[in-house]
Amino acid sequence: MIKFEKFTLDNGLRVLVHEDKSTPMAVVNVMYDVGARDEDPGKTGFAHLFEHLMFGGSINIPSYDEPLQVAGGENNAYTTNDLTNYYCQLPAENVETAFWLESDRMLSLAFSKKSLEVQRKVVSEEFKEHYINKPYGDVWHKLREVVYTSHPYRWMTIGKELKHVEDATLEDVKSFFHKHYTPSNAILVVAGNVELAQVKELAEKWFGPIPAGEKYRRNIPQEPPQTAPRFLEVKADVPLDALYKCWHIYPRVDDRYYTADLMADVLSGGGSSRLYQSLVKEQKLFSNIECYHMGSIDAGIMVIEGKLVKGIDIKLADEAVKKELQLLQEQGITTNELQKVKNKTESAMAFEDMSVMNRAQSLANYELLGDADLINSELGKYQAVTAADILEQSKIIFSENNCTTMYYRALN
């Protein structure tokens, strides 16, 4: 049971407090409800580029990092298709430094030209390092564009192309800030060796005076149901053929999400899971194979991806995957399998909750989904999933018409 308190400032900023007196540290986590899905299709990669610019100085404070480091703190941030999260950890006695820094950059950035110029380059190098200079690095650029026809999950967080990042202007930066970085679009979580009353006072003092700004209303195209199989084939200079298959699933807050999540674990939750045992160990068609889903807030996708054993025909491997799915659709899962994936979920949650930092981020995530209480009630939702639910969903999710397949073939 993770205890927390919640209150909202007049400007709309939601604040969650989780006290844990066993640590000498405090965690301050600010999550903004903006991600790559909120980008203009002609200016992709912007939410992430913007995250970099949040460290380029704010209206009253020339550097974010230095004062935090002087206070003994560490920080980082990440952007996904759904959200942008900034977190720092520092000795609890110095927690006010984090309030000072985070509130100033919520108030206004410095909008430095130099920072934009440098970070455009840094992000370009990040793009190259992760998506160009790596075998199979372009898979998701290609695949997302086929799996999604309308929803902005069509592009990756890093952006659709380098050029979009290279072309970003200071005007773009300013308008993005005013549109998305408002108190009502943010969630502040303070956790660790802190007191509720102290957090209330500090939140009022530092974040209270920030103008509410205009509330951003998300209005993005939703993905229409897929009605026919999709297929693409790529040839690239990689050593091994790889198979990718994707199916649309449910939004994060849909009850069927939990069924889909457990189903992925039945198929590939470890060395005793179905796909690994059958396709890697027994049939020796793949050198590795996994099934996972993207966990996105809007309806996401379930993925099976694997690298083939050299010399195996990719069509044959594809058929073998289909056969495993068919088996699931016809026979469902055993009581033993269901208990196993539930036990795994229980265990994974307990390990995840070990660090204050993780608890703070989980609280922010759940609050963004609409209900921070989910942090304590979600295990119950997993426990409620039945074998019949999984059987039913296996037929719906793994239907041919809901599937996109990619053959990523090695040139030689």
Binding site: Q69, V70, G72, W100, V118, Q277, K284, S287, K340, A350
Partner: protein, 425 residues
Amino acid sequence: MNRKEAPVIIDAVDFKLNLKPYEYFTLDNGVPVYTIDAGAQEVVQIEWVFYAGNWNEEKRGLAGATNFMLKNGTTHRTAFQINEDFEYYGAYSNRACYNETATVTLHTLSKHLDKLLPVVNDMLTNATFPEEELEIFKQNSKQRLKVNLQKCEFVAGRLIDAYVYGEDHPYGKYTHLEDLDGLTTDLMRSFYKKYYLNGQCAIFVSGKLPSDIQQQLNEQFGKLSITKPSFKNTLIQPAPSEQKKYRIENDPKAVQGAIRLAAEFPNRHHADFKKVMVLNNIFGGFFGSRLMSNIREDKGYTYGIHSYIQNHIQQSAWLVSTEAGKDVCDATLEEIYKEMKTLREQPVDEEELSLVRNYMMGSILGDLDGPFQIMAKWKNIILNNLDEKYFYESVDAIRNTSAEELQALAQKYLQPENFYELIVY
């Protein structure tokens, strides 16, 4: 309220840092067990550390393969059954092979521990190394290696170690595709017999521990023929390369180069070690370091650049590592050497030094969050044949190393001619 003015802070250097002591007991066979009982979650982590690293192998890849295959079949269980037994309870069991040591770890909810220790016992006493499992392992390892060999950073990481220590040294050698072909189940069985069945072992336990933990461990592992470690390995002399500068073309389409610099550096017992950790932080050890501020935050040549001392027991090396745009690799090297020069020629000013001291203290304080992290610190101390003095002297070094000392250390170690220099395109 003045937003331009920072709130008053307590200097992190004034914090009292305590490393929670471990509990210690030995099993009937003398094997030492170190425990940290802490935390709110009902979870436990156990690590069995064997002196079965690649230090001991006669054939490249043998130690790693033997360690991997501990989980692939015993006289009582197939590979599938071993996995099933762990996974049914939501537990994870991993294994890993390092230079001196090789480990088996177990992560589980505390309530399931009694059902899982017998499975670990089975792996450590009855592993069979089936022929078919080895064939799958070889094939999949070769495939994975082929993919990795396309990555410049992977190739660079292997080569730089080979230059510093020599390709025959445990710290410098790396697996070739043909090494995997030469592995046999016979070789693995005899390695297993010598270094696991009759090997040296230490056990590290952390988390919320059941009250009968001592009894449970003794029952499962106290009767085995394993013995307590001497914490010493035979010394193997490195054979560093003569040539210092290398340019390797690995991928004709590469848009970035993987840059690695490395120079020999003594181990943790050397008097300079703790002070150099401070110097390293200033140089390239954290986000606010000189390398990062200059090469990423000012020039935008890279997504990240880091310097670090390798975590080796016998002998170490000081490394700089980055991936930079192909057209700015040379400019990046120039800036790295320029930063070394500045550290040699100018003392670090008080403001920067105090920032780094505070940052490092805060970072240690944050690192001690939870039983697993505390045990990780202890394990490093114990395996390096050190004691708690090392921890407290490190803290002293953070507080007290002077700008003059840092400059002298830079003059001693940050000399370009000491460094191997490699770019893999």
